[in-house]
Every structure is written in C-alpha cells, then in structure tokens.
C-alpha cells in the first residue's frame, strides 16, 4: 500500500510482559490470553495518519527470553522507535529495565525514540509497580511513559501513535536524516515531491558519508 513514510519499531522487554499481545491488539484489535512464545521475532504492520500523511508502522516484536538476547540485538539496528515494555504486576520486569535500556542505546541509533510502557494496567489488584515509579524512571532516562492494557486496549493506540508523532516531529525538526535507512525511516513511493527534492539535495551527501 502507498505510504508517505515507513517507521521501523521494535518492541522489547522481559518475557511474558505482553509484547506480542500489544502488537496483536494494535494490528488486529483483538486479545489472546494465551500466546505462543515468540521465537526470534514476529512482524506486524499498520497504517496510521499523522498530519494528513499516511505512515506505515513496521513493527518488530522481539522474543523476550534470555536465550534470544544476542539474536534480538541484531533487530535493534535501524529502528526509529522502540517500545520498552514491563509488566506492572511483576517487579522483576521493572528492575530489568536498565539492562534493556543499555542494550537498546548501545545497539541502535542515538535518535531512536523510546517509549516506556507499563503493561497489564487492568490487573490493578495485582499491581507491584506504582505508576509514579514508571513515571520517575521515564523522566530520569528521557523516555515517554504510558501505562497500557493489551487486554482492554486502553492506551495501546496512543502508545504506538504517540511514538510515531514524536518521530514525525523529529523528522520535521530535521533530527532524523530520512535518507539514511539506518535511522529506521523510509520514504514511500508516492512521495514524488519530497522524494525527488530530498534525493536531489541529500543524495550526494549520503553517498559521501557512505564512502568514509
């Protein structure tokens, strides 16, 4: 399908925090209580509209199990946005956030927009991590924060779309070089004006960067 931009997202976090369920809720608008273990990575895609422009989100839902850690690291490369997910009913998944964040920062480009997500907000009675703690962590590390529920779909759309908005703003500000695919952004085929001007003005720059 035609799109103006394509953003690559990755979803990361401990096993069982609901990464695949978030993706399923966002792409298919349904919830599956029992989900098969993700092997390596699964993919999802959806079109959204920001500022009147069609944007395709290409989402990489990575495996959370430790044995896949080295494999999932190769998926970080070229991602424009990351959803870092923990489970509000399991304190250990929150405690592991720093490791995940270090991993993400180390293996991706520095401009990647990271959204911190406390999932399973419907399970209020079993909550182990306060919302304020999530907010504090996000503030400390410069992330956007949201609590979601893949089950009730609360905030799921917002989480994905707000991240896209943030990336879009960064493009407008010129932080992202959209011609460099390592940034996780592709320009769609039906973007004749931008495409031609950009490839005209920045193509040479890009090639120059490539050779050194």
């Amino acid at each position: 399908m035609a799109y103006a931009y394509l953003f690559k997202y990755i979803i990361i976090g401990d096993t069982g925090v609901g990464k695949s369920c978030l993706l399923l809720q966002f792409t298919d608008k349904r919830f599956q209580p029992v989900h098969d273990l993700t092997i390596g990575v699964e993919f999802g895609a959806r079109m959204i509209t920001i500022d009147g422009k069609q944007i395709k989100l290409q989402i990489w839902d990575t495996a959370g199990q430790e044995s896949f850690r080295s494999i999932t690291r190769s998926y970080y490369r070229g991602a424009a946005g990351a959803l870092l997910v923990y489970d509000i009913t399991r304190r250990d998944t929150f405690n592991h956030l720093t490791t995940w964040l270090e991993d993400a920062r180390q293996h991706s480009n520095s401009n990647m927009v990271i959204m911190l997500i406390g999932n399973k907000s419907d399970l209020e009675s079993r909550r182990e991590v306060k919302k304020e703690e999530g907010e504090a962590f996000a503030r400390e590390h410069g992330l956007i924060f949201m609590e979601t529920s893949a089950k009730t779909a609360s905030n799921v759309e917002e989480a994905f779309i707000n991240t896209a908005k943030e990336i879009y703003e960064k493009i407008q500000e010129g932080v992202f070089d959209i011609n460099n695919e390592a940034n996780g952004i592709k320009i769609g085929p039906q973007h004749p004006t931008t495409n031609s001007t950009l490839s005209g003005s920045q193509g040479g720059q890009h090639a120059g960067g490539g050779c050194c």
Binding site: I39, G40, V41, F43, A45, Q58, W60, Q65, E66, S67, F68, R69, S70, I71, S74, Y75
Partner: protein, 252 residues
C-alpha cells in the same frame, strides 16, 4: 515441483547439519559460547552438577564399602588367629596367666565372629548402592545424554537464526521465507530441548531424594550391630582386665 521440494529438503538437512556441527565444534574446542544462551541454562547446569556429584559419590561409596568389607574380613581373621593362639598357649600354661590367656583368647575369637557379622549389612549396602547406580543413575544418564544432543541441536539452530537475522527485511519475500524456515527449526528444537531439560531437572531431583531415602533406610538397619560391637568388646575387655587384676602377682 516435487523434485524441487526434495532438493530444498536436502538443502535444509544439510544446513541443519552444518549449524549442528558448528555448535559441536564450539563446544568441543571450548570456545566461548553466547553468554545469554549459557545463562538461560543456569538452572539446568546446576542440576547437572548435582547429578555428576551423585554419580561420583556413589562410585566412591561403593569403593569404600568394598574396602571396608575386605578389611573387616582380614582383621577378623587375624583376630581369630590370635585368639586361637592364646587359647592354645593358655591351655599349656597351668598358672593363672594361662587362664587369663585362655579367657582373652576366647574373647578375641568371639569378637572376631561379631566383627564378621558386620559383613552382611555392608554387602547389602553395597548391593543397594550398586543397583541404584545401575538402574537410577544410568537411566538419568541416558536422559542427560539425550538432552545434551538436543541442546546442541537447539544451540545450532540459534546460531543459524542469528546468522539469518543479520540482514532481515520483513518486506522482502525471499528473506522472510528463509527466516520462517529457520524459525520453524528453532521452534521444534526448542520444544524438544525444553522437554528434555525439564525431564533432566525432575529426574535429578528425584535421584537426589531417592538416594537420601536409600541411604537412610540402609544405614539405620545395620547400625545396630555396628554399635553393638564396641560395647561387647568393651565389656569383654573389662572382663579380661578384671581377671588380670585378680591374678596380679603379689596379690594372690
């Protein structure tokens, strides 16, 4: 079409073998393995250590029991010979010293008999541990071997997946096809490895518990003669000593 299918399945088999061999080489040559993969098997490796310790200590216990048994036999024989000798010498000596010698000889003969009675429970212990080793340990060992084979398959598949993940684009059909193939391989090897991993953990737990059970059962039964023996011997010594004192020269 079918020739093509056949061809691709041959290629797949070949690739599987390649990655399995690669993993085997990494393991055999002792090269550093993926730390995360190793860490995710920490529990299993802990259980394997317990298993190897059970294996080793059972073997040692068998050896020690065997030696103990042999030494008891030798000792008992010597003791008996000394007893017989003292009794023979005592019967020739008509003084009180002869009587003492005879009494001591008798006590020694008796004690040597008592000592021999330790052999039975020791033999039973030996047999029980031997059976345990032969049945339970070797059974677990088989499962451990299966698990190790399956672990090599799984880790080989992970290497393969890591390799195809380097350049992955979900919008490229060909790459995705390849990735799905590897993913299916990882999934199937993971399923069988996880099952065997679980089997090993459970079997090792069971093995440890049943060994405790075996030892506490076997060791409480023969404990009686072991503890009886010194007391009897002590009594016998006391008796001999008493006789000695009574017949000390200058007194009588």
């Amino acid at each position: 079409m079918s020739a093509h299918d056949q061809n691709s399945s041959v290629v797949k088999k070949f690739q599987q073998k390649y990655w399995r061999t690669k993993q085997t080489l990494i393991k055999v040559s002792g090269r550093k393995e993926d730390e995360h993969v190793v860490a995710s098997d920490a529990e299993l490796d802990g259980k394997l250590e317990v298993f190897h310790s059970i294996q080793r200590t059972c073997m040692e216990l068998l050896k020690v029991t065997e030696q103990y048994q042999r030494r008891i036999c030798n000792f008992s024989q010597e003791e008996n010979e000394l007893g017989v000798f003292l009794r023979a010498q005592g019967s020739r000596d008509k003084t009180r010293a002869g009587k003492i010698m005879q009494a001591t000889g008798k006590a020694l003969c008796f004690s040597s008999q008592q000592r021999l009675s330790l052999r039975n429970p020791l033999c039973r212990l030996y047999q029980e541990v031997e059976t345990f080793r032969y049945r339970a340990i070797s059974d677990t060992w088989l499962t451990v071997n299966h698990m190790e084979q399956s672990r090599t398959e799984y880790r080989g598949a992970l290497l393969w997946m890591k390799d195809v993940s380097q350049e992955l684009d979900p919008d490229t059909h060909k790459q995705m096809e390849k990735f799905r193939k590897v993913q299916a391989q990882v999934r199937s090897t993971k399923t069988s490895f996880d099952k065997l991993k679980n089997d090993v953990c459970q079997k090792v737990d069971l093995l440890g518990a049943s060994r405790c059970n075996l030892l506490s059962h076997v060791l409480t039964t023969p404990a009686t003669p072991i503890w009886m023996l010194p007391r009897n011997r002590a009594e016998l010594r006391c008796f001999s000593l008493l006789l000695c004192r009574q017949t000390r020269p200058g007194r009588g």
